[in-house]
């Protein structure tokens, strides 16, 4: 992505949304939540700010859970989430009289990566992955998994158990959320998974698609059940570890705060395009984007009922 391209694009966008009479927005928007979604919100805020220079947009990444803790108190306008809201969080909103609406903005594909030079592996089945990462009798040597694999120690890198990535991976691969072997290197910074895997031919790790995409030269993503993570395979759901990313908006704030309204609209309008791709995620399809827009309009028209989980 180069800069010139971006300039053109932002001009396009101002043409898109600069049609309102509300030229001089000057309010503020507070976004908090998942560090996975954070780059998306950050990019949206950046572009939005280019059109509305007086707006104050605060984007924080304090984790999905930490963000929801504030969201359920009505302290933030938007909460980014790398997982759906939990029933308890939803109930807190209900108790506090917070009405919210969920938007699924982008899709991530959790990528399993190995060293560039690891010629012995190219694709694995979900079951094999489960065997490697599962809690029961975790293999110590690769040859314990498959006899043709090298007789070398298994070195694993992954995100911490507090992250949404971990939850999603364990639920979809191991089969039970939060169930995993424990003897692997954990970090909350995905760049260090890359570093670890890059450094050893016997290493394997999993992380967000954005990180893989930036490091295609450094590590190799292996296929799962034969499907490799690509924009295509993630967006059409073919890739087994496609993971939706969300943001939640406080409806009261949405109604009161014109700036927020414009921001959310802007966010949805751009959910299908370049901005999302630039930060390394897979954008929404056109039809999905239309759904989001309809949902937004329904909320604004009052045709929307919050479906609290329990």
């Amino acid at each position: 992505s180069d800069t010139g391209q971006n300039d053109d694009q932002s001009q396009d966008q101002s043409a898109d949304s600069g049609n309102g009479e509300n030229q001089q927005l000057s309010g503020q928007v507070i976004v908090d939540g998942s560090s996975t979604v954070y780059p998306v919100s950050q990019a949206m805020a950046e572009e939005f700010k280019k059109q509305h220079s007086e707006v104050k947009a605060s984007v924080t990444s304090s984790g999905t859970g930490g963000g929801f803790k504030k969201f359920v108190q009505g302290e933030t306008d938007i909460n980014d989430a790398s997982r759906p809201i939990t029933p308890s969080e939803s109930q807190k909103c209900k108790e506090n009289g917070i009405e919210y609406v969920e938007f699924k903005v982008a899709t991530d594909g959790i990528s399993v990566v190995v060293n560039q030079n690891a010629n012995w592996i190219d694709s694995v089945s979900k079951d094999t992955l489960a065997e490697i990462w599962g809690p029961e009798n975790p293999p110590q040597k690769w040859s314990d998994v498959k006899s043709e694999w090298p007789d070398k120690n298994v070195e694993l890198y992954g995100p911490t158990s507090a992250s949404g990535t971990f939850d999603f991976f364990t639920e979809n691969i191991v089969g039970e959320e939060d169930s995993s072997r424990t003897d692997y290197q954990t970090t909350e910074n995905d760049n260090f998974i890359i570093k670890g895997v890059k450094g050893s031919e016997n290493a394997m790790g999993y992380l967000g698609y954005a990180y893989y995409q930036q490091n295609e030269d450094n590590v190799k993503a292996i296929g799962i059940n034969g499907v490799k993570p690509t924009v295509e395979s993630i967006s059409n759901g073919e890739y087994p570890l496609s993971r939706p990313l969300y943001f939640y908006v406080n409806i009261d704030h949405l109604k009161e705060n014109e700036t927020l309204r414009e921001f959310v609209k802007f966010y949805i309008e751009n959910a299908d395009g370049e901005i999302i791709r630039q930060v390394g995620y897979v954008p929404a399809t056109e039809s999905h984007q239309n759904d989001l827009m309809n949902k937004f309009e329904n909320v604004m028209d009052g045709n929307y009922e919050v479906n609290y989980k329990s």
Partner: protein, 302 residues
Amino acid sequence: MDNRLKIKRTNPKVLKERAIKSALFSCAFVSLLVTILIIATLLGDAINFFTEVSIVEFLTGTNWSPSMKPYSFGVLPLVTGTLMITVISAVVAVPLGVATSVYLSEYADKKVRKVVKPVLEVLAGIPTVVYGFFALTFITPVLQTIFPEISLYNALSAGIVVGIMILPMISSLSEDAMSSVPDDLRDGGYALGASKFNVTTGIVVPASISGILSSFILGISRAIGETMAVTIAAGRLANMSVDPLKSIETMTAAMVEVAEGDIAAGTAAYDSLFAIGLLLFVITLAMNMVSQYLKSRYKEKY
């Protein structure tokens, strides 16, 4: 007239002195208030936590796994992790810090002191995140050449980096304490034919021991409470081992993990953050009581 010296409560000078005293007391009171508020902040959720996890399991359990099945909330591995970082960083920073302060205060000439002291103080201001990366990308690789079996994330390099971080706290505050020892005392020593080494270790250091101990307490306290650097560099593997070459998890790292991860509030995993905070508070309180006692025994006054 004959009551001139008697303080009248309305005497403006007296009122002023009293007002100042009250104002200063209020300042001191703030710190008490902060403690009360911290306890209050932690207690609510910590109590929630203890309704789900028994306090005995928490304090005696040897397995910490709040968000990985099987869930388990034994805090001991975190305590040993914190202890290890504290000990390693103290082993690095205390001798280096004291030696540096002795050098700057007693040996270095004025120009060197004027440059080196502020230079070292810069170490105190480097963002802790940066320290974390420094440990991972510089210290660990160096250590790897010495201990090939060392983990990428390990207690040793995290401890070293925390030691570097608290170094200026110890060196600067100790240096201040030593340089405020009156020169008369040094003269007294030198005139007896004591060498510089003797005067420094036998007179200056004992005379400034209160300040030196304070600097230890502040430095080591920061090591105990240090968060980001260890979170990044020491790994996230809560294990009871005391092998500094392995990954560990400290109490503070566990707290950040919960606070910045995606775990939902209200779960035991989330509430454990507050329980750990409270426990850490109790542990440091006990340590401080001991050190206050020790300090009161080694005070020299001039």
